[in-house]
């Protein structure tokens, strides 16, 4: 008989004997494994059917339900059919959804953090409680990217590293906040769907564009108001009078000189060091990125606007008799243009995409012939979703998927002490295609059978069973 286990899912720390449940009724000891018992979750899919005849105002009409794997349980030890194999007629097609919770030791999350601030160098180690759980990966437009988890951190390192990694992934996937420390970088609190908190300060806006792009977008508005604009950006700082946009608007040269390395006219790299100041630089006083003005070109009274890529920081200056920029009261129109730039920035958010590979054993819960499931997915006869959210399936071998956790039902993920994540995964296909791939046809139940025991939640409008998801449904 398996021994009692200590459940560490909450502070109560229940001591659970084999076959028993914890105080919460949510976790149980199943042969020495801690398993989740949350009710099976069903999401309502498809929007109000305005197009299908007269709408009578009943928003329930036309809704159909999609049985997610959240709370379904797993197939472990793998030779068993998936816990729920349900059938449903959808638009005249008999569809089958195979629903299981997969135990993923090959899994992780990709995190996109909308910020210009420097949070750490590419390749820098990301830590939680001192344990390495991933790294900073190649940046994307207006965003920093993290790659967290993966088998090497989950099971390839020390016991503590695996436990901390699993816990951080679980919390990120369940849309809870997690504080990350990046080696020689920032302390960042990441929560799916929320702004990042960088070194204690919540980020507000995502840049409207790089410094050069900002010049291009707002040149026409700035040219009549001021003589020079410098958009401070760690990536590309833009200078209006030198930039192609300023030239085409006939903005005369100003003699304002910017530090850094000139890329093309009006575009400068490395005007300062990366940091958490203006535009992702370490600059708090923008005048520090200026060299002395060219006395042959500049003139006393020259009007200079300096602004960051989000418009959150800006300053208005005028050159004095010695051609030194002095802070001055900004005309109302300049103030309005700074606000216009900020208004064009999108809110800064953290996005968390779960990524995992459905291994051989999980596929056995779907069919006796696991490779046929892989082929069926590649052939677009089988659609893969995670918690009712359509998943992106990577090309190449295996069934490696990515899905946005933001739109999944709450607490869609669990874990096992392996350590590994327990993630919902559903395979939807025509009944005939399920038979063809060797499915467990005798296990199919009508969807109505499982609704009584399920928790029902509203979906996000995505519909894993929609015909457009399948090769045969493409028009």
């Amino acid at each position: 008989m398996a021994e009692k286990i200590r459940c560490d899912a909450c502070p109560v720390l229940c001591y659970i004997a084999d076959g028993k449940i914890g105080a919460c009724d949510r976790y149980a000891n199943h042969g020495g494994n801690l398993v989740r018992l949350d009710p099976l979750t069903v999401v309502s899919t498809s929007a109000v059917p305005f197009l299908d005849g007269e709408w009578d105002g009943d928003i329930v009409q036309g809704y159909r339900r999609f049985v997610t794997a959240v709370g379904a349980g797993t197939t472990y030890p793998d030779y068993k059919p998936a816990p729920f194999i349900v059938s449903q007629e959808i638009d005249g097609v008999d569809m089958v959804t195979v629903v299981t919770e997969g135990i993923f030791s090959y899994c992780g999350v990709k995190v996109k953090i909308d910020t210009d601030r420097h949070i750490g160098a590419e390749g820098a180690v990301v830590r939680v409680d001192g344990e390495a759980i991933g790294h900073v990966t190649t940046g994307e437009y207006g965003s920093k990217m993290l790659s967290l988890g993966g088998v090497d951190h989950l099971t390839g390192g020390s016991k503590a590293e695996g436990r901390v990694t699993c816990d951080a992934l679980l919390r990120l996937c369940n849309r809870e906040p997690v504080e990350l420390q990046i080696d020689e970088g920032a302390r960042v609190v990441v929560q799916a769907g929320q702004p990042p908190v960088i070194n204690g300060a919540p980020e507000r806006l995502m840049r409207v564009g790089c410094g050069s792009a900002a010049i291009g977008m707002f040149a026409r508005q700035w040219a009549p108001l001021v003589d020079e604009v410098v958009v401070v950006d760690d990536h590309i700082t833009g200078v209006l009078s030198e930039h192609q946009a300023g030239r085409m608007l006939g903005v005369p040269a100003t003699g304002i000189k910017v530090k850094g390395r000139r890329s093309t006219p009006g575009r400068y790299f490395q005007v300062a060091e990366p940091g958490t100041g203006w535009g992702g630089t370490n600059v708090d006083d923008p005048l520090t990125i200026l060299k002395p003005s060219d006395p042959k070109v500049a003139w006393p009274g020259l009007r200079l606007l300096m602004i960051s890529t989000t418009g959150e920081q800006w300053g208005y200056f005028e050159l004095d008799a010695e051609l030194v920029p002095r802070p001055a009261d900004a005309p109302a129109a300049v103030l309005a243009s700074a606000e216009r730039l900020a208004e064009n920035c999108e809110p800064s958010l953290c996005s968390v995409l779960f990524m995992g590979g459905a291994g051989g054993s999980l596929r056995a819960g779907v069919t006796d012939n696991p490779v046929r499931l892989t082929r069926s997915v590649k052939d677009a006869l089988t659609h893969v979703s995670c918690g009712g959210v359509s998943a992106y399936v990577w090309p190449g071998g295996g069934i490696t998927v990515m899905a946005d956790v933001l739109h999944m039902p709450s607490n869609a993920f669990g874990y096992v002490p392996t350590p590994a994540l327990v993630a919902p995964i559903e395979f939807t296909m025509r009944r005939s295609d399920y038979a063809a791939l060797g499915g467990h046809m005798d296990q199919i139940r009508p969807v109505a059978d499982v609704l009584a025991q399920a928790r029902q939640v509203a979906g996000d409008g995505s519909d894993p069973a929609a015909a457009r998801n399948f090769r045969w449904g493409l028009r």
């Binding site: 009692k4 560490d8 899912a9 909450c10 502070p11 109560v12 720390l13 229940c14 001591y15 659970i16 004997a17 028993k20 914890g22 105080a23 919460c24 009724d25 949510r26 816990d167 679980l170 919390r171 369940n174 809870e176 709450s410 607490n411």
Partner: protein, 279 residues
């Protein structure tokens, strides 16, 4: 380890942490401030209880925290075996409701902790709760009005997560606060019993739930066939216990259900409907 989580369910707020699930409602005027206060208070409740758990599992031990003191106070009037844990659900509901009332001018609010409900009804407001059998059968409707002195409603019995020493399907108690109702419902449900009946399977609590505060006390695992006379006998035992509590001023009323028979102890006015079959 998961921390406390919150979610909006339409106009209601759902808070969960470990074994605690609260569904909270509040009048629209005070809702935003009251929900914020509920979330703030809820954040540390489970941690406080876990810190004092050893004392809370012993009858008569001294406790410190505000929720723990509510639990101890709720079981204090009773002279039979009962630990403060019998009032944990109600006490959490009372504590969160108190935090909401301290933060906002609440006129009508409830905190429902898995069926143990703390209530605040300002003048002119009422609260209704339907009693269902374990099979979903409708057993009646409870109606509570402002000014009746009822601040809590709790249910114990064979359903739900807790163990019971009796055989009641459910005992619903109306009392001045949810913690008091919770403890009383537990004890009245224990008193609904046919001692020595061969059809009732009992087991030591520690063999069912290793951590149980009930230790070696026998708890009910299965109730076999009962004659009408046995059902009536069991209900009358529970009702007598409920009337003793009502006479002592501990509770207002209790509604006892067994095999779809319903018995009301205390003031019957709270119990609005019951279908004829159960009369």
């Amino acid at each position: 380890m998961s921390g406390p989580v919150a979610a909006r369910l339409g106009d209601r707020l759902h808070l969960q942490h470990g074994p605690i699930d609260l569904i909270i409602g509040c009048d629209p005027g005070a809702r935003a401030a009251a929900f914020a206060a509920a979330m703030a208070r809820f954040a540390s409740v489970l941690g406080e209880l876990v810190a004092e758990r050893p004392a809370l599992r012993v009858q008569g031990a001294a406790v410190q925290g505000p929720v723990a003191r509510r639990m101890a106070a709720a079981v204090a009037p009773h002279r039979v075996f009962v630990t403060p844990m019998a009032a944990v659900a109600g006490a959490v509901a009372d504590e969160v409701l108190a935090a909401m009332r301290a933060a906002a001018p609440v006129t009508r609010a409830y905190v429902n902790n898995g069926g143990d409900i703390a209530l605040h009804l300002g003048p002119g407001h009422s609260f209704r709760a339907r009693i269902a059998g374990l099979d979903g059968a409708d057993l009646g409707l409870v109606d509570v009005q402002a000014g009746q002195g009822i601040g809590g409603m709790a249910t114990s019995g064979l359903g739900g997560r807790s163990l019971t020493m009796g055989i009641a399907q459910s005992v619903t108690v109306l009392a001045p606060c949810a913690a008091t109702a919770d403890a009383a419902a537990t004890l009245i449900a224990n008193a609904v019993d046919v001692p020595g009946h061969p059809g009732i399977v009992r087991q030591r609590a520690c063999d069912v739930v290793p951590d149980s505060d009930l230790g070696q006390h026998l708890v009910t695992r299965f109730v076999g066939g009962l004659t009408g006379a046995e059902v009536a006998l069991a209900l009358s035992g529970g009702a007598a216990e409920a009337r003793r509590m009502q006479a002592a001023g501990v509770i207002h009323a209790a509604i006892l259900c067994l095999r779809d028979r319903v018995e009301v102890a205390g003031h019957p006015a709270y119990f609005l409907e019951r279908s004829a079959a159960h009369a």
